[in-house]
């Protein structure tokens, strides 16, 4: 559906993109992840034909963004980062204008506007001027204008920024519901958002793609061995000694100690699962096991790891 090949973009002497390549399949939600200034917005602007790339090619629905911009523009809905809307227009007027310009006929426009306002939860605000709306509602109007023509491809630049937690959940649900019918590219630097909504993640940093995979794969791939946290009551030196002696343990790390209770992060050798053995040992020694939970590496950790690893090279 979307094919990006070796895209570069230079602003004067600054290389914003240094050869980005990725693909998005039909009906997929792709998360576009990267720190500020990584080139997320630049890539999106090239895909939406706002400006051309310096070199490389990008195709949306089979149309080249440079050769056939009108065909591409007809098939995308775009929500730019800071949601630029005409503040002096009423919501209905604005959505009607956008719908008409995207090719919806006069007969259908009313129905479409009502539907999209309903989907985005702005029906009760219909007659208001956009300038009077709060940030959250403006964001929804922005989403509504991207969705109005039911485009094949949606490009959303940080769609949940500035929303309250309830709205974030609603918008994420809305985006999730789009999967299958629409192809979505979603940029963000909020990582849980990606693991919640996206099927695939592209991580970019300083204009380069540094990883492409599903959120689950990324987690397991980079994490390596399993880590488990134990909260144990007992003499910390004894516990440390015993844990180090136990089978299949690579590393033990002691964290906070409080009233004889300490946290131990136990890293096992790859392929070893000692979730039964350690509690048994603790019981045998007469200590108290207060808590035990696996330490899953969050996308944040992966992200930071990837971005910093890249720097080290």
């Amino acid at each position: 559906m979307i094919e990006v090949e070796n895209l570069t973009k230079t602003y004067g002497s600054f290389n914003a993109l240094k050869g980005i390549t990725f693909k998005v399949e039909k009906g997929e939600i792709l998360g576009f992840l990267g720190p500020n200034g990584a080139g997320k917005t630049t890539t999106m602007r090239i895909l939406t034909c706002f400006f051309p790339a310096t070199s490389g090619s990008a195709r949306v629905c089979g149309f080249d963004v440079f050769e056939n911009p009108l065909d591409v523009k007809k098939r995308i809905g775009y929500l730019p980062e800071n949601v630029p809307l005409y503040k002096d227009m009423e919501i209905t007027d604005y959505l009607t204008f956008v719908g008409r310009i995207k090719g919806i006929d006069t007969g259908e426009i009313k129905k479409k506007v009502n539907k999209v306002m309903d989907d985005c939860g702005i029906t009760h605000m219909a007659g208001k001027l956009i300038g009077e709306l709060s940030k959250g509602y403006r964001q929804r109007v922005g989403l509504a204008q991207a969705l109005i023509s039911d485009p094949e491809v949606l490009i959303l630049d940080e769609p949940t920024i500035g929303l309250d937690p309830k709205q974030i959940i609603e918008i994420r649900q809305l985006i999730k519901n789009l999967a299958g019918r629409h192809t979505v590219i979603l940029s963000t630097h909020i990582l849980p958002e990606v693991s919640m909504t996206c099927q695939r993640v592209v991580i970019i940093n300083e204009g380069r793609v540094i990883a492409v995979d599903t959120p689950q794969n990324l987690t397991s791939q980079i994490q390596g061995a399993a880590k488990i946290l134990f909260k144990i009551e007992g003499s910390s030196s004894d516990v440390m000694e015993e844990l180090k002696r136990a089978r299949g343990i690579k590393k033990v790390e002691m964290k906070d100690t409080n009233n004889g209770v300490s946290d131990y992060i136990v890293e096992f050798e790859k392929g070893v699962d000692e979730r039964k053995g350690i509690p048994a040992l603790i019981v045998k020694k007469g200590w108290g096991l207060l808590e035990m939970r696996p330490m899953v590496m969050s996308l944040e950790d992966i992200f930071i790891k990837l971005v910093t690893e890249e720097k080290g090279v």
């Binding site: 973009k9 602003y11 602007r45 939406t48 034909c49 706002f50 400006f51 051309p52 009108l70 523009k73 007809k74 995308i76 775009y78 730019p80 800071n82 630029p84 809307l85 005409y86 503040k87 002096d88 227009m89 007027d93 204008f97 956008v98 008409r100 310009i101 995207k102 090719g103 001027l129 204008q145």
Partner: protein, 259 residues
């Protein structure tokens, strides 16, 4: 065509959503009305005096109501247009650039030319409304005197073309910056320069004089105000408009390449 119409309609509406159209039209009518009153009052006073003393008519170069009221009125209206037109055009692209809405507009399936023409036409429409309101002055002249109809009609054609030329340059200036004040100052300054060029004809060299008198915006209104539609004047204004709109398109495109 449909996109052109949609943008035209949206721009026209937004002039009336904001106070701009109301303020500019009102101020325009107050000032032109004031000029009209003064020109007309002066003419009637002098006419009374001339009745007593025919010599005065010659002294004041007093010919008839068309020459003494209609022509100066058109001259004055064109100066006020020069002052107010940049205020109508300054927002067209500058505001879209500052608020970022241009990013959405240019990613909708529209051609640049449809955007430019739509905005230009909306502004010309506002200007047309302003001009229509001034029809009251010729009507008043008609009630109290016997002006020739021809020069009034051609004068309005001339004013309309000149206003459209002002607007086309204003649209261009607006694409160059995201600051509305800069856009207004730029278009006002350049238009004034074009306007003033007429004054330096007196001391221009023989080579320059032909070029300058052709370029000067003011020179081309003279004919219209006299009741003459010279195809050269019409072509001058149309050329001016086309050049400015062409430059506007280039400016929009160059922004894309600069990123």
């Amino acid at each position: 065509m449909r996109n052109f119409y949609l943008i035209f309609k949206k721009e026209l509406k937004s002039y009336f959503y904001s106070p701009i159209a109301y303020v500019v039209i009102t101020i325009f009518l107050i000032i032109t009305g004031y000029f009209f009153y003064n020109i007309f009052a002066a003419f009637s006073t002098i006419s009374f005096q001339a009745q007593m003393n025919p010599g005065i008519a010659r002294q004041y170069n007093l010919l008839n109501i068309t020459e003494s009221v209609v022509r100066p009125l058109f001259g004055n209206i064109s100066v006020i247009m020069l002052l107010l037109m940049p205020l109508l055009t300054m927002r067209l692209f500058a505001e879209e650039k500052r608020s970022g809405t241009i990013e959405l507009l240019l990613t909708y399936p529209v051609r640049d030319i449809e955007v430019v023409m739509g905005k230009f036409a909306a502004c010309v429409a506002i200007f047309g409304i302003m001009l229509i309101f001034t029809f009251i002055y010729p009507v008043l002249i008609k009630i109290y005197g016997q002006p020739e109809l021809g020069p009034i009609i051609t004068g309005y054609i001339g004013l309309f073309l000149m206003g459209a030329a002002f607007i086309s340059f204003g649209v261009f200036a607006s694409t160059l910056t995201e600051n509305q004040v800069v856009a207004a100052v730029l278009s006002f300054g350049v238009l004034l320069l074009f306007w003033m060029m007429g004054y330096s004809l007196a001391f221009a060299g023989p080579g320059l004089i032909g070029i300058m008198s052709y370029i000067a915006l003011m020179q081309h209104l003279e004919g219209f105000a006299k009741g003459v539609i010279d195809s050269g004047d019409v072509i001058y204004y149309l050329n001016f408009i086309m050049l400015c709109l062409f430059l506007t398109l280039r400016a929009l495109e160059s922004k894309k390449w600069r990123g």
